[in-house]
């Protein structure tokens, strides 16, 4: 009888353990699949701001109404990490933004369901985007939209500095002089994120780039010239990184009036309208460098994890989200350019103020993105923060060797 009491106590403990484990269940993801009938989707997005979040949520709701399948839209605070953790934990979201920079890595690890060629509108996407999201010649996931970079100008500050339309920078020299004139007191002429994803455009404008076909060309003289030009802007005090202006990103620095010009993409429009509705601005193409114009194109695709039960349903949702009609709604909400040629044409007509971004698409290139490149680029970005006091050549030499070994590794 002594025993029975003790065992009861111990049993209670074990029971509690069991209970605790049963009461689990994340409520989403793979864990509640057995419920079967009540299928639901989880969508993980990396949002540029409230405007984008709300638009995606609205689209998902609209689809839910049609299909009866509930969709939970989850905004990642760090998309790449949360995605990776999802895959590591065998509970990846059913649908997610797959960034251009991570796509090759994920595709080469067989993490992605190749579904895009089965879509009805598979042939409507921009060929460049289809290339960007193909792995071993297979069109894997449908491009969500795309963006290019432009020069965003605060028109009030522009006028206040006595500048006119004729002064809109067309080359490096006029960019520097405009930035110079816009710099005063609390305002700096130009700002942009301290990262390859911005500075890379100067490399292209100088005739350089990190890759030329299969060759890594990170430390080419053109790239050195580009970095030295940016260094010059920093030294002159007409360019400052957002963090040095107390802002989290270029758009915030611009909205607050801490920077009169920023190099950003169309997403800045939605963010500004939401957070800083009073700021007047216009968008120009990026100025040309010694070798002509240059800008980056960024894109996400709608990723679906490989071999998930929900893949087919998720695919339906993608078809809905990539329809011209829906894409144009996203455009309206947060400025991205539709990924299908037909919708992009409509877009250019509807939003002449974004014309500069669309024009940029003519000569835009994709940033380097082979599997493993993003780790090297991240490392390079940490160095850019201190570009002002750094030796551009040495910086690029280091990048060259890291990129070379990463590229070798990616080629197996």
């Amino acid at each position: 009888m002594k025993h029975s009491k003790m065992s009861a106590a111990a049993l209670a403990g074990v029971l509690a353990l069991a209970l605790a484990s049963c009461s689990g269940g994340g409520g989403t993801g793979a864990t509640d699949e057995p419920e079967g009938s009540a299928e639901s989707l989880t969508m993980l997005i990396g949002s540029s701001g409230d405007a984008e979040t709300q638009a995606v949520q609205a689209a998902a709701d609209a689809w839910t109404e049609e299909s009866g399948v509930p969709v939970e839209v989850v905004v990642a605070s760090n998309l790449n990490q949360e995605l990776a953790q999802g895959f590591a934990g065998d509970s990846a979201p059913d649908l997610f933004y797959m960034g251009w920079d991570q796509f090759q890595t994920y595709a080469s690890d067989d993490y992605l369901e190749p579904y895009a060629m089965d879509l009805e509108n598979a042939g409507d996407f921009y060929p460049a985007l289809v290339d960007a999201f193909s792995f071993e010649d297979e069109f894997v996931c449908a491009p969500k939209d795309f963006s290019t970079l432009g020069l965003v100008i605060n028109t009030d500050l522009w006028a206040a500095a006595g500048l006119t339309d004729a002064d809109i920078p067309t080359d490096w020299e006029s960019l520097q002089s405009a930035a110079q004139r816009l710099t005063s007191g609390e305002t700096v002429g130009l700002s942009m994120g301290p990262e390859y994803q911005r500075l890379g455009v100067f490399m292209q404008q100088a005739g350089g780039g990190l890759m030329d076909g299969d060759t890594v060309t990170a430390n080419s003289p053109e790239n050195v010239e580009a970095l030295e030009y940016v260094q010059g802007l920093l030294e002159a005090g007409v360019l400052k990184w957002p963090a040095d202006l107390g802002a989290g990103w270029g758009g915030e620095a611009f909205g607050r009036g801490s920077a009169a010009m920023v190099i950003e993409g169309p997403w800045i429009r939605g963010a500004l309208e939401n957070d800083y509705p009073d700021v007047q601005f216009q968008v120009a193409e990026l100025p040309s460098g010694p070798d002509g114009p240059g800008t980056f194109t960024f894109s996400n695709c709608w990723g679906i994890p490989e071999g998930q039960d929900t893949a087919e349903t998720a695919q339906d949702l993608v078809a809905f989200l990539t329809s011209d009609e829906q894409q144009l709604q996203f455009s309206e909400a947060f400025g991205v350019i539709p990924s299908t040629e037909s919708a992009a044409a409509t877009y250019a007509e509807t939003y002449p103020e974004n014309a500069a971004f669309v024009t940029g698409a003519d000569y835009a290139i994709s940033p380097v993105a082979f599997a493993g490149a993003s780790e090297v680029v991240t490392e390079f970005n940490t160095k850019i923060t201190t570009l002002q006091s750094a030796d551009a050549q040495a910086l690029l030499d280091e990048l060259q060797s890291q990129l070379e070994s990463a590229y070798e590794a990616s080629q197996g």
Partner: protein
């Protein structure tokens, strides 16, 4: 001599008051900052009294984020963990202190060895095990690994050691079983240690972060630490939003602050369970 002592005391006061202000100031400024507008928090972070007093940040927390859900999860996890940890730790502590059984020394040595394993080192390994057991991204995975801890067992064992064995004699002679003796005679005597352990467990699981980062990922399972963590480390492009972050910090501190002020004496008593117990 006396002079010098008094002089020292005054200098001591000044130094202590300055230091105390330094320690308190961040909390005061956090509270006042949480009632400012975004603009004012940036433009005038120093002002202790907001120029325009606003609840906007709190409103946003309750309407724009899942803070209520995070708080619920935090309470559920914290309460379950605390209740069971105190129970399991006392059971084990009692057995190690009172019961003679073969293998006792081995078990004790195991617990002591475990004390020396740094928990952060275990983060990735534990994730692997949680995943293998199919507990990843469930309450089970978040809660079960926290249900017992070596330090707590040790504290309880020490305390039971200090309770004279003779008090159990009467109960045993009356024929009470081991569990009853433990439950109704010895355990009540250990109330001070139980309270200490309860407080420590409560605060520990309320403030736990790393474990909840690796044991879950679904937003439905965010606790206050991981949820507010996403706010603090900033969503992409959402700007600095200091009042929002400060308001979240203030709210999540309230329960531990209440706990702290209610049990201040016990928490800060340095002799009990420390040198004497």
């Amino acid at each position: 001599m006396k002079e010098r002592v008094t002089g020292g005391l005054i200098t001591g006061y000044v130094v202590l008051v300055v230091l105390a202000l330094l320690y308190i100031y961040p909390f005061v400024i956090a509270v006042s900052g949480s009632f400012k507008t975004d603009q004012e928090a940036n433009a005038d972070p120093m002002a202790l009294i907001p120029e325009t007093f606003t609840f906007a940040a709190y409103e946003r927390l309750f309407t724009g984020t899942d803070l209520p859900l995070w708080a619920t999860n935090s309470f559920v996890v914290t309460i379950v963990v605390t209740v069971f940890r105190v129970f399991f730790d006392s059971l084990a502590g009692y057995a190690l202190s009172r019961l003679r059984f073969r293998g006792r020394n081995t078990v004790f040595a195991l617990f002591i060895a475990v004390l020396a394993v740094p928990s952060v080192v275990l983060m990735i390994p534990r994730f692997l095990v949680i995943k293998e057991l199919g507990l990843y991204d469930t309450y089970g995975g978040m809660i079960i690994p926290l249900l017992a801890d070596a330090a707590g067992i040790f504290i309880m064992k020490q305390f039971f050691d200090s309770i004279p064995a003779s008090i159990e004699e009467a109960a045993r002679i009356d024929g009470a079983g081991v569990f009853r003796t433990f439950w109704s005679v010895t355990l009540p005597m250990a109330a001070p240690a139980l309270i200490t352990l309860t407080i420590l467990s409560f605060q520990g699981s309320w403030n736990e972060f790393a474990h909840f980062v690796i044991s879950r990922q679904s937003p439905d399972l965010h606790t206050l630490t991981t949820g507010v963590g996403t706010l603090v480390s900033g969503q992409l492009g959402s700007g600095t939003q200091f009042p929002l972050k400060l308001a979240a910090a203030v709210l999540m501190t309230i329960p531990v602050a209440i706990m702290f002020f209610v049990f201040q004496k016990r928490i800060m008593s340095t002799t009990e369970g420390g040198e004497k117990g």
